[in-house]
Amino acid sequence: MKRNEAYNEFVKGIWRDNPVFVQVLGMCPMLAVTNSAINAIAMGMATFFVLVGSSFLVSSLRQWIPKQVRISCFIIIIATFVTVADYTLLALVPAVHKELGAFIPLIVANCMILGRQEAFASRYPAKLAVMDAIGMAGGFMLALFSLGAIREILGDGALFGVRLFGADFEPWVIMILPPGGFLTLGVILLFFNWFRQKKDEFLDDVAEAQRGSD
């Protein structure tokens, strides 16, 4: 039963409550750094580290944090993890750090992360909080990667810098420019909502059919 609960917290972030496609949070990095798959993954990993670390600390310290100053405490914890991620990336992969530029420090302001602390980590035990964080960060990374991959393939004719098409392919340059982010995100959100609507309709049909057979 316990394991099941933890599993649920994990899975909801990947799909049902996906932070980007369902909650539509964290749009700033989502649109800004997804012009190539590798940037998207690096951003996803930095966010993953920050979210899981902060959720664990916030959840472990929740008895000691007075609720009047909780938001300031969450931000201090998040900012510390972001600084650690920033310097680590700069030391280990300077090329990626150069590409992501100002968007690493801006993880502090990612509302998805503060949102998870306030809505989940500060109310549940550490184990569940970490599972929730892993799920949410995983879902965020998945969303960043889908956007980054689609935009790089269409806009540059490549994936992870590997050319996919012949020299005749004319890249849709707009896809790696900022408008391409909005276009791709719009189409994906459209698909997600269409899918949910279809699923609801299907469940309604099933319920009706059951009522009819009774």
Binding site: S36, W64, L90
Partner: protein, 222 residues
């Protein structure tokens, strides 16, 4: 509402709030100093390596380099540059013979400052190589100033007198003309302008050919 939550809801004293934030800030500060100190050596070495790689790239035939600080009308080797003091890099071959200067320049591009390094051979009065160190030019268009191999190769023997001119693609004829990049005209012209301006600024600072500062061995040590 359970008993415990009600107890928490009773407002804690201001002192407790201040103390909580002070302790949190203190721990966070220590953690940040720790990671800064831990990563600083790696970051400094990375930057030095990056610079050295760029110098070797823009000056073909060079295997050693040293920083030259321009102070009181002459170029000084083995000197720590003060803030805002102009610096060039001297490139030398295996035997320690002077080959050329790698000169850093910066200026406005299409979106943000473009920082670059170009190799200059004073004996032939030619630019012999160019490398973009930092730029935020538009991905897919302006970033061709460092991704387009043909354009970068155009700087391998380019006369700087009277000045470099970017011309429409495929029409470069004179020694001082370079093909601009289709779709990135502004960025390409910005690069050319930065090199021209930097060249003018350094023209009178560099010693006459043959009188270049010699390689100081101590500087060569890693």
């Amino acid at each position: 509402m359970s008993a415990t939550t009600r107890k928490n809801a009773a407002a804690p004293s201001s002192l407790r709030l201040v103390l909580t934030l002070a302790v949190a800030g203190l721990i966070s500060g220590v953690a940040i100093i720790g990671i800064y100190e831990a990563t600083l050596p790696t970051i400094t070495t990375n930057k030095a390596h990056e610079l050295q790689a760029a110098v070797l790239k823009v000056l073909p035939g060079v295997s050693r380099m040293q920083a030259l600080v321009f102070r009181d009308g002459e170029l000084l080797a083995n000197t720590e540059p003060a803030k805002d003091e102009p610096v060039v890099y001297g490139g030398y071959d295996d035997g320690g013979t002077f080959v050329g200067y790698a000169i850093p320049g910066a200026g406005p591009g299409f979106q943000d400052t473009i920082g670059l390094l170009y190799g200059y051979a004073p004996d032939r009065n030619l630019v012999v190589g160019m490398e973009i160190l930092e730029s935020r030019e538009t991905p897919g268009l302006g970033d061709k100033i460092y991704k387009d191999a043909e354009w970068v190769a155009g700087f391998e023997a380019l006369a700087v007198e009277p000045e470099i001119v970017a011309v429409k693609k495929g029409t470069s004829a004179a020694d001082n003309e370079i093909d601009a990049i289709t779709g990135a005209t502004i960025s390409a012209k910005a690069v050319v302008r930065i090199i021209n301006e930097t060249h003018v600024a350094w023209q009178d600072r560099l010693p006459p050919p043959g009188a270049e500062p010699e390689l100081v061995e101590a500087e060569d040590a890693p």
